[in-house]
């Protein structure tokens, strides 16, 4: 009995490092509004396997100087001062045996929105679907893009 209890207690997933909850990041404000490309912060999205998150330093590249007259700016600045070096992280939803290369898809002129949804949707918490059926439907040319490789070893290892 004690073992079962112990198992229940310790098997709970450890929470991920909490996000900076004080100030919500708005994709819409940064993207559509000021014309920043997704890859500016999500480095690697255009040419690498993964779209990474910006570090604090990446944020400070722009936020070193006051950018707008908005009242929230001092609050943001102080939050940024206190933030960790890597403020964001997430669990990849792609298993280790699958490779998804952001770069190749960007090269094929597939916009981020195709899989991730619009910026407003992302702000609402939508994440890209990683169902194999959806990958395959697109690769077979059923979603309006040119057909692409469908042999298994292209994406599996």
């Amino acid at each position: 009995m004690a073992l079962i209890v112990a198992d229940l207690l310790f098997s709970t997933e450890e929470g991920l490092a909490s996000k900076n909850k004080a100030i919500a990041f708005s994709h819409e404000l940064h993207g559509a509004n000021i014309g920043l490309d997704c890859t500016h912060c999500h480095t690697g999205a255009r040419l690498g396997y993964k779209a990474h998150f910006p570090s604090k330093q990446d944020c400070l590249d722009c936020h070193r100087i006051p950018l707008t007259d908005s009242a929230g700016i001092p609050k943001l600045d102080s939050a940024l001062q206190k933030a960790k070096a890597m403020p964001w992280q997430t669990e990849s939803r792609i298993p280790a045996y699958v490779i998804f290369h952001h770069g190749v898809h960007a090269k094929a002129n597939i916009s981020c929105e195709t899989c991730h949804g619009s910026l407003a949707e992302i702000d609402r918490g939508k994440r890209a679907s990683v169902k194999m059926g959806e990958c395959l439907a697109c690769h077979r040319g059923e979603k309006g893009f040119a057909p692409s490789a469908t042999d298994c070893a292209r994406c599996h290892r």
């Binding site: 198992d7 040419l47 290369h101 090269k107 298994c152 070893a153 290892r157």
Partner: protein, 289 residues
């Protein structure tokens, strides 16, 4: 009526007893998992142990230099390897390199006694033998789910999440180079993730030489991202890189510039008799043609 009630009671108590015992066995899940070790010397010891076995190689027979695949005649790439038996001295360095590159687990004592090592490369009479990536692969034909499947660039690929472990491929492989995960190496602490690029395998799936597919994939995707034509130039398999005598050469059969095509030029090309008719991509070089 009495009779049937007695019967019922008998059956019910049997079933209950069975279920209770069944429940007990789950206790073993609480046993502490052995700490996984990533001490490479343990792997070296196992390789030595495996190399002491006497596995016969069988005859080597001459074949033609591999050309375009029949199934994918329009492809411009077909990867493969050549192993120069005039140079190779069977030192076994390739086995270690392969294990570290592909996160191949060790096996427990029981399995080792039965000779069921997971090594993708196996020494048979001092000759390294691995999957030959046959162009007309018998393993792919019999796989019910398509987990063993041909890739257009010449690999005989293995898709682990699709594998249900029917072991038909292993049974039908004439060179017996497919390895089945009989045990859960992770639960026994016998596997280590040396290379983050390669997934660990579950108990119950088949595996074998993948021709270092991850290296090819990485290189291909980078080239494609940059918009270059890709012939796999510069990619090397782990065993080819590790071979101290450079006996193993990795390359593209369809690219005359590739180190493979150059290594094979003028040499006698051989393969195991059992797969001579199956258009293998991994060949042995012996003497002059």
């Amino acid at each position: 009526m009495d009779q049937s009630r007695r019967n019922f009671l008998k059956v019910a108590s049997l079933v209950l007893g069975g279920l209770a015992l069944w429940g007990c066995r789950r206790d073993k899940n609480f046993a502490p998992t052995p700490k996984a070790s990533s001490d490479i010397s343990l792997w070296k010891i196992e390789i030595k142990q495996a190399m002491q076995r006497n596995i016969s190689l069988g005859d080597l027979v001459p074949i033609k230099i591999p050309g375009p695949l029949l199934k994918f005649s329009k492809e411009i790439n077909r990867f493969g390897m050549s192993i120069d038996l005039d140079i190779c001295n069977g030192c076994g360095e390739c086995i270690l390199a392969c294990m570290l590159e592909n996160n191949i687990p060790r096996v427990n004592d029981n399995e080792a006694q039965k000779g069921r090592f997971m090594h993708w490369i196996e020494m048979r009479e001092g000759v390294p033998v691995m999957c030959s990536h046959c162009g007309d692969a018998p393993c792919e034909k019999v796989c019910p789910t398509g987990a063993a499947v041909a890739s257009p660039d010449g690999m005989s690929a293995m898709i682990y999440p699709r594998c249900i472990g029917s072991r038909y491929c292993g049974a039908n492989c004439p060179s017996k180079t497919r390895k089945f995960n009989y045990t859960d190496a992770r639960a026994e602490g016998l596997s280590a993730k040396f290379n983050p690029e390669v997934p660990l395998r579950n108990r119950g799936v088949m595996e074998k030489c993948s021709l270092c597919v991850q290296r090819l994939q990485n290189d291909r995707l980078l080239a494609k991202t940059l918009g270059k034509e890709w012939r796999g130039m510069g990619v090397q398999s782990a065993c080819a890189m590790a071979c101290p005598k450079k006996a193993i050469v990795f390359g593209n059969w369809l690219d005359s510039e590739s180190p493979l095509s150059q290594a094979v030029r003028g040499r006698g090309v051989y393969t195991l008799r059992s797969i001579a008719g199956l258009d293998p991509s991994v060949v042995y070089l012996v003497g002059r043609a």
